[in-house]
Amino acid sequence: MDSIQLLFDAPILSVQLLLDGLLIGAIFALAAYGMALVWGVMNLINIAQGEFVMLGGYVAFFLAQAGVHPLFGVPLAAVVLFVLGWMLYRAVIFRVVDKDLFISLLATFGLSILLQQLANEVFGADVRTAESGFGTLFLFDGMVTVAWIKVVAFVAALLAGGLLMLFLKKSRLGRAIRATAQNARAARIMGIDTNRVYAATYSLNAAICGAAGALVAMTWIIHPYLGLPYTARAFMIVVVAGLGNIAAVFTAALGLGAAENFAGFIMGAEYQAGFVFALLVVILIVRNAWLHRKRRYLQ
């Protein structure tokens, strides 16, 4: 446990780890908003979440190749992925949306493999990046270094969360989405075209993931097979935070990012993912026990 000793000797390292963790957590938060939305409204767990992130990354990459600043890739990726999401809904998802959860799980798993292989075939297996050229932010006399683009990504994630919340509360479609989430049958009786709501929800999810992907391309790297970590993290965040609360999703995502970074530092990179899933199990057990107690109290 030399690494723990190191943290005590140089507490500034904790700041570095915390910041890096929170900033990658913000990207996970974006993927998790979308997953929570689709899960909550459509009762569908979208395994292709990470592939939407990956495709969004390619939008930013090709924009940068064309000489446009990849930051414009964030809105563009959202638009492109919205359209793709709509098409996928019309082609595949609407067939499974009211089916058993297991069926939709399989269908989106299939989509995820299909998108990976198509990306591999069309874009090639090469590792790509899009350069933002924003440089590095130095804190504490250069003891802590953070890429500016990560800060941009954090702000973008916060903004996207806020906008999403506003959209769901205030806009007509947003209300329709919430109504459908509460009770799809009742919503249909009240004249809401739930099929349209589902299509919009699924496309919105793809759009948010696409925006996250553009940020990933500017901060880290992209390649056709990068999806899994994002899908897995989004799933875990949603399980912990629940489906109904965007602020909780954001907080859980930041917490996960930070916890993961500390785990990687202390136990080594090989236990980083393992730690995260062990944490998930612990959280579920604790939460279950807590809910149980509460229920008994209410009775």
Binding site: V127, E131, G142, P229, N261, A269
Partner: protein, 414 residues
């Protein structure tokens, strides 16, 4: 009755095919004045690019040997010919084709396929028939701990990929009046067989120099962020930082050391070429060390092609692209046969095998001398350093064309 009648046609067809196949075995090891070699290479599928490099490398050697009047075996000059089959980049198919080359085409001398995976599938077949196979594209260490007697590789195996960086760091320490044992080493290697082979070689040499390994992280295969490992590097200030995690590991290491402004005197990685770090990551990739099998600027020489640069120019003229190392090591595999057949003075597979095992020569590709397991131990890996956006060979020092910039300038001074 009707049934048997119907079956006669396919049976007759099969007999014809079998007879033809038997007739095909007129393709013996030697046809008149031509020595026939066989190879399964990946002309389609995921390895098709490198499969073509392999084939082009073989073909250039065949052409050059013909120009020079062929191979003299026991006083008579022979030409070379290679029978190719496309293994479609699948190991199972590669093994079938090796069977076919040996038992139907009666090939007595095999050349390797592309990739460790295909070589792993074919080696048991050549071993079973006691047919020598010289390969230039299977680098996995696991090929050479199975006790194969008929498998030889011209390239450096995986555990050598980053050893040169450790030795280079030790050399630089001595130049600065320090002891190699004072150096601190940080390792970040992906948790897969290839990268762990590379790591094993590095650890062996670091221990030999008495260096202290301060970080030893195993990166997950679905690696998407190296921040935790890099924070440790920042804190512990190693003198040498080694990374291997295929193309994504190389690209992430370059990107994130630059974004986090991590100062390490020497950083080396594998897969710079496939990640195209100098071409796409610009200033962030500057001063990185990259492992490679071969480079055209090395001053190795042989009687067939001349220098490495001569070879490269000849290759470009022939195929209209610069030779990657995959082609060079394939050409070298054919040269091993040429040299061994001449020394053996016979086409007896056992005698040729023993002659190959006794190979000790220099080629444009590097020195070749096999250890008992069949891997080439005479050719060191090459280390490039990225200087002003170009790959410059800086190690091994006696063959290098450029000098190492060491230590890497600090980010604050760039």
């Amino acid at each position: 009755m009707l049934n048997t009648g119907r079956n006669i046609i396919p049976v007759a067809l099969m007999v014809i095919v079998l007879v033809l196949a038997a007739a095909g075995s007129a393709h013996a090891k030697v046809e008149g004045d031509t020595i026939v070699l066989g190879a399964a290479v990946s002309l389609t599928g995921k390895y098709s690019t490198n499969g073509k490099n392999t084939q082009d490398g073989y073909e250039l050697a065949v052409k050059r040997i013909d120009e020079m009047g062929g191979i003299k075996v026991a006083g008579k000059a022979y030409k070379l010919k290679i029978i190719y089959y496309d293994d479609e980049s699948t190991p199972a198919h590669g093994a079938q084709l090796a069977e076919r080359l040996i038992s139907q085409d009666k090939v007595k001398f095999m050349l390797g396929p592309y990739s460790s995976g295909l070589t792993k599938a074919i080696a048991p077949v050549t071993e079973k028939y006691k047919i020598p196979m010289v390969e230039g594209n299977g680098a996995s260490l696991s090929l050479f701990n199975k006790g194969y007697k008929y498998l030889f590789a011209t390239l450096s195996t995986t555990e050598y990929y980053l050893k040169e960086a450790v030795n280079l760091a030790a050399l630089e320490a001595k130049k600065q009046g320090k002891k190699a044992s004072q150096l601190k080493v940080a390792l970040a290697f992906e948790n897969d067989p290839f990268s762990q082979d590379v790591r094993a070689g590095v650890v062996e040499d670091a221990k030999r120099h008495g260096m202290k390994i301060v970080i030893d992280d195993k990166l997950p295969p679905e690696l998407n962020d190296m921040a935790a490992t890099l924070t440790k590097v920042k804190a512990l200030k190693p003198d040498l930082f080694l990374v291997s995690g295929h193309a994504k590991g190389a690209a992430l290491a370059v990107r994130q050391t630059s974004a986090m402004k991590i100062d390490v005197p020497m950083i080396a990685t594998t897969h710079c070429d496939s990640a195209k770090i100098a071409e796409t990551l610009g200033a962030a990739a500057e001063y990185f060390l990259c492992a490679s099998q071969w480079d055209r600027s090395l001053n190795y020489k042989d009687k067939w092609f001349g220098t490495a640069e001569d070879y490269a120019q000849r290759f470009e003229k022939e195929f209209n692209y610069a030779p990657p190392y995959q082609a060079a090591e394939s050409t070298a595999a054919v040269l091993v046969y040429v040299d061994a057949l001449q020394r053996a003075g016979s086409f007896d597979t056992k005698k040729v095998r023993d002659a190959i095992a006794a190979t000790d020569m220099q080629t444009f590709y590097g020195n070749i001398k096999f250890d008992v397991t069949g891997k080439n131990i005479a050719k060191p890996m090459v280390l490039y350093q990225i200087q002003k956006g170009e790959y410059k060979v800086v190690a091994p020092t006696q063959w290098a064309s450029s000098t190492l910039i060491h230590p890497r300038p600090k980010w604050s001074e760039r």
